[in-house]
Structures are given as structure tokens and as C-alpha cells.
């Protein structure tokens, strides 16, 4: 009992030290900004661990929520750069008649924009979830549906060149709530904000995993029908996890914008949505540390390997994904479990296996 309580605490302390002390000390500014980007993916992966690992919902379209959070933040930064009554630079280029579209207006307010980063994706997820889970859409159908929504959102953004920046997306941000983003010190600050956000998301998700709700979510994942006969509405149970994971993706998208300096349809469509999942799958979708580290490792490998072999990366990634799903469905995090099980099996005499009917020992 105490060991199971202390270990994760030590894990968190270690993560905090690594993120706040070691990484900034040993990494160059350039590498640190790359790490900031990877941490954003880790935040998405933690949400996926909740919805997919625990809830069984294969969220192949987290790009949708990542994008909503990202665009909400980017719109505010563009407006803040433009100054009061100013227009974002790209609108001057493509021309919207010198008028700011009405739906841009509220994003001038930093409070509105920050709230929208969470509220927009979570509201949309709740709506989607309400429609989808009530109708008992699940498994591959749910995965394809969520992926289609991410693709549709990317297409919508591309089509609205004049008001969304189209394929180029929103980029070239000068400031971040009053801090100049060109200043390396402020870049470090952004990194620290992201690291803190990741820790917070990890803590929240851990609490969810170990709460009664977390147990209920596993029950719904494994036998939705049975849960219904116990008097629960499984649609609501899934809805909650899906909505929270959407909020995490939105938060990640918003933090991605100042860290990387761009949000565009290419960053939120089908391919990035699948990449979010791959990291979690390889690391271990049911394990918090596994999903987060997996996302970081895959993003890091992508940067490193695609520098060396730009053409091979996609194939390598796909191969890795298939190998993990086929041979290690629990991801790398389940390796330890497999190993310890093998060891105990070797030391303990195996109980005789019989038919279930023969197995019931007299009470």
C-alpha cells in the first residue's frame, strides 16, 4: 500500500526536477524550444490515455480539439499584435474589406480567449459525445468518425483563407500576453508554463485514474452492457472522459502556439491526429507515464530521424505502430508487467488448468 503510494509521488518529483531543473540547465535554447513542443504532444497523449487507454474510445481526431485551442490562442495573439482596432496582418493581405469578422471580435479579450481554449473544445466534445455515445457508436466507427471530423475541420480552415489564414494558418506572433516572443528569456518562460501544464494534467489524470470514476470507466470500457444493468448510463461515463481529453488537447494546442509560433491546418488534420495516438500507443495507452514519454519519444525521433532520412520516417513510424499494436498492445509500459509475470510464473507451480466446470473447488 505505502509502496504503491510513494512510488508515483517519487515519479512526479523526479519528473518535476527533470522538467524544471535538468532540462533547462543542459539543453540549448533551441533544444529547449523543441522539448516545449514535445511536451505539448505529451499533454495530448495524457488525454488520449484517459479516453482510449481507460475509456476504450480510440480518439483518432484529437487534432480537432488541438486545433480549436490553438486557433483560439492564435487569434488572440494576432489581435493583440495588431493593437486596439487593428487588423491581423494576413487580413490586410487577403482583404476582408477592412472589417474584422464578428467572431474574431471577442478574442481581443485575453480572458475570453483563455477561457475559449478550454471551453470551445470541451463543449464541442460534449456535443459530439452526446450524439455519438447515446447512439452506441463505438469501436472502429467512433475512431473513423472522430478522424473525419478532424479532417473536416482542417478543410474548413483551408477554405476560409480570408478569415483563418487558410493553408498558411496563423503565424508570425510578436508577443505573448505582453512578453516579446523574440526574447529567449520569454521563450524559456513559455517552456516553463508548458512544463507546469503537463505536470498539472498528469496530476489531474492520475486522480481520475484512481478515483471511483476511473474504476467505473474501466468497467464501461470492458463491458458497457453490464454497467447499464447496474443502473449507470455508460454514455455519460464515456462523455466525461472524452470531454476532459478534448480539454487537454485544446490546452496543448493553445500552448503549442507561443512555443512553436504557428498553428495551421497541416498541424491538426488526419496525419497529426494519428501521430498523437501513435505516441500514446507505443509508450502504453493505459499508463500515464507510458503515454507521456511515448509521445515525447516519438516526437523526438521524428525530429531527429527525419533530419537524417526525411523520406523514411513515415514508414518507420508506421512500422513501429504496427509492431506495437500486434505484439505489445499495452505499449512499452506493459513490458515490465509481462516480465514480472513471466518470472512469477516460472517460480510458482502452475495451477492445473481444467475446464471451467471442473475448476470450481468445493466451497
Amino acid at each position: 500500500m505505502t509502496r504503491s503510494r510513494l512510488l508515483p509521488l517519487a515519479g512526479f518529483a523526479l519528473t518535476a526536477v527533470a522538467l524544471f531543473a535538468v532540462a533547462p540547465a543542459v539543453l540549448s535554447d533551441f533544444r529547449l524550444s523543441l522539448l516545449a513542443r514535445y511536451l505539448c504532444f505529451a499533454i495530448v497523449a495524457v488525454g488520449i490515455a484517459l479516453a482510449w487507454g481507460r475509456g476504450g474510445m480510440l480518439t483518432l481526431g484529437q487534432g480537432l480539439f488541438f486545433g480549436l485551442g490553438g486557433y483560439a490562442m492564435a487569434m488572440h495573439l494576432k489581435l493583440a499584435d495588431a493593437g486596439p482596432d487593428g487588423l491581423p496582418d494576413f487580413m490586410l493581405l487577403y482583404g476582408t474589406g477592412g472589417e474584422l469578422p464578428w467572431w474574431w471580435e471577442p478574442f481581443r479579450s485575453p480572458v475570453f480567449a483563455l477561457a475559449a481554449v478550454l471551453v470551445l473544445p470541451m463543449t464541442l466534445a460534449a456535443l459530439i459525445g452526446f450524439l455519438v455515445f447515446r447512439r452506441r457508436v463505438r469501436g472502429a466507427y467512433f475512431a473513423i468518425l472522430s478522424q473525419a471530423l478532424a479532417a473536416a475541420f482542417a478543410l474548413l480552415l483551408i477554405g476560409q483563407q480570408a478569415t483563418t489564414g487558410g493553408t498558411n494558418g496563423l503565424t508570425n506572433f510578436q508577443g505573448f500576453f505582453g512578453f516579446a516572443l523574440a526574447d529567449p528569456l520569454n521563450k524559456r518562460m513559455v517552456y516553463f508554463v508548458i512544463a507546469a501544464a503537463l505536470l498539472a494534467v498528469l496530476l489531474i489524470t492520475r486522480q481520475l485514474f484512481h478515483s471511483r470514476y476511473g474504476e467505473l470507466l474501466v468497467a464501461v470500457r470492458d463491458s458497457e452492457e453490464r454497467v447499464r444493468f447496474l443502473g449507470y448510463d455508460p454514455a455519460l461515463v464515456k462523455l466525461a472522459a472524452y470531454t476532459v481529453s478534448a480539454g487537454m488537447a485544446g490546452l496543448a494546442g493553445a500552448l503549442f502556439v507561443p512555443a512553436v509560433g504557428i498553428i495551421s491546418p497541416a498541424l491538426i488534420g488526419i496525419v497529426p491526429s494519428i501521430q498523437f495516438v501513435i505516441g500514446a500507443a507505443i509508450g502504453g495507452r493505459a499508463s500515464l507515464a507510458g503515454a507521456a514519454l511515448g509521445a515525447i519519444a516519438v516526437a523526438w525521433a521524428q525530429t531527429t530521424l527525419s533530419e537524417e532520412f526525411p523520406a523514411a520516417w513515415t514508414y518507420f513510424q508506421a512500422g513501429l505502430f504496427i509492431a506495437v499494436i500486434a505484439f505489445l498492445p499495452g505499449g512499452l509500459a506493459s513490458l515490465r508487467h509481462h516480465l514480472t509475470r513471466r518470472r512469477t510464473r516460472a517460480t510458482r507451480p502452475r495451477p492445473p488448468t481444467g475446464t471451467p466446470a471442473a475448476e470450481g473447488a468445493p466451497a
Binding site: D233, G360, A363
Partner: protein, 266 residues
């Protein structure tokens, strides 16, 4: 074991835990699985539902619990059940088990029971860890002799224990009506005995309906029996009455289970 008298008087509809089924029909793609069944089960009864394969026993339970769409009327404690979603019917105090024990295999015995106890929990309770063992859960662990196994994953339990866990889940759920689909299938003889006694204790203040093929078990523990055949009620009464019914003998011809002292442990 006091068998009810011949009449098995239909319970008045407002009785707190009475099940009243009227003209129930379930049709799948033109096949009528349940064809106008009337059934009354009074509180405190331990009713066995028997019949050859395909008689509509499980479909009847599916209809009562909201799984299979049906026409007619199913009233429990005066409330109409047909048309309500499964989880709402469950919240009215109706629980069931399945032919193959369905427990949450990736969760421990304790977690399984705790979930069964929690349909009415508030959001804040749900978001916290379990600090204390709920009383009902502790009691159910005792009743089902699973206390020693509480921290084991339910998937690793022996078959018979899984079925006990399912019954335990119904107990903590505090249902008023239990519908059990072959609860002793695959159990050893002592386990059957223990299960039967457990059902008797449970039935003291609840209504229990058991689908069962095992005729030894039926003879030992049934308080009343309903025989279904081809989606209709063929016969109803005490074990003795049903055994003496020529129509039942005809249906079970070649199946010595009811008439001969059966060694029904297939």
C-alpha cells in the same frame, strides 16, 4: 421449504415488489420468441423458469430488463417497465445475471462490488478515491464468501466464484427483483448447495426468478415453477404440480430430467 398452495394467486399489482407480466410478446425478424406470456411473481417467491431450449426464457428476462424490445406490459411494484432504457429499469431495483458470468475482469472483486453499489453516487464522490469499504460491500463479501479474494482481479476467479460475485453485485445493488440466468451452471455440487441456500436467504425479502436446467437444483430449492414452451406458458405451480402435468411430460419426453431422479450434471 414451504411450497405455496396450488393457486399461486396473482399478486395485486400495487404490491411493493411484485412482478406482473401481461401478454408479453417479443419478435425478432418475424420469429416470435415470446408469444403472449402472462406471469406473476409475488415478493418472497423463488420462482424457477424452465423449458426446453428456445422456449423463450432468456428472451423473457431480456424483455423485462429492457434489453429486448417487447409489446404487452411488464409492471414491477406498480410501475410499467416496457419502454424504459436499461439503466432506468435497473434503478427501479431490478437486477440480472447472464448465462456466462459477466464481471469486470480487469477490476478486483472489491472494485466490482463497489461499482455495483454506486449507481446513485454524486459526482464529487465519484471523483475521489474509495476511503472506506461501504457496509453493503463488506456484507456482500461475507455473504458470497469472497472476503479472502477481495483484492484479486475478477478475471482470475474460478468459474463458480465469478457467479457468486455476480450475485454479490446484485446484493449491493440492493435490487428488489433478481433475475438469474443459470446461476449454478458449471458449479460443483457443494457450490450448488451453497448457492441454493443463499438464494433462499435472499428471497426472504426479495423476489427471485431463476432460469435453470438443473432439475436436482430445481427440486431442492424452487418454491414455484413456470414451464415455458415455444414462447408460451405451458404450466405453472409447485414442483409437484408441474411434474404431474401431462403436457410438461410430453414436452420433456426423452428428457428424463423432470420425471426421473436426474443426474443432470452434464
Amino acid at each position: 421449504m414451504t411450497a405455496p398452495t396450488a393457486s399461486t394467486a396473482p399478486a395485486p399489482p400495487a404490491d411493493p415488489a411484485a412482478l406482473a407480466v401481461r401478454d408479453l410478446r417479443v419478435t425478432f425478424d418475424g420469429f416470435t420468441a415470446v408469444d403472449g406470456v402472462d406471469l406473476d411473481v409475488a415478493p418472497g417467491d423463488l420462482r424457477f423458469l424452465i423449458g426446453p431450449n428456445g422456449a423463450g426464457k432468456t428472451t423473457l428476462v431480456d424483455a423485462v430488463t429492457g434489453l429486448a424490445p417487447a409489446t404487452g406490459s411488464v409492471r414491477f411494484a406498480g410501475r410499467e417497465l416496457l419502454g424504459r432504457p436499461v439503466h432506468r429499469i435497473a434503478r427501479l431495483g431490478i437486477g440480472r445475471t447472464f448465462q456466462t458470468a459477466t464481471v469486470f475482469e480487469q477490476l478486483t472483486v472489491l472494485q466490482n462490488l463497489d461499482i455495483a453499489a454506486g449507481a446513485g453516487r454524486s459526482v464529487t464522490t465519484l471523483l475521489r478515491r474509495r476511503r472506506h469499504l461501504p457496509e453493503a460491500v463488506a456484507a456482500a463479501l461475507e455473504t458470497t464468501a469472497l472476503t479472502a479474494h477481495r483484492d484479486r482481479l475478477a478475471g482470475t476467479l474460478a468459474h463458480g466464484r465469478k457467479q457468486w460475485l455476480e450475485i454479490g453485485m446484485l446484493l449491493v445493488q440492493d435490487v428488489r427483483l433478481l433475475l438469474l440466468d443459470e446461476p449454478v451452471a458449471g458449479m460443483s455440487h457443494p457450490e450448488r448447495e451453497a448457492t441454493g441456500e443463499l438464494l433462499h436467504r435472499i428471497a426472504a425479502d426479495r423476489t427471485v426468478v431463476v432460469i435453470e436446467h438443473d432439475m436436482d437444483f430445481l427440486r431442492s430449492f424452487a418454491r414455484s415453477v413456470t414451464v415455458l414452451h415455444a414462447g408460451r406458458v405451458l404450466s405453472e405451480g409447485t414442483v409437484e404440480q408441474v411434474r404431474a402435468d401431462p403436457r410438461v411430460q410430453e414436452v420433456y419426453l426423452g428428457e428424463p430430467a423432470l420425471t426421473a431422479p436426474a443426474g443432470g450434471e452434464a
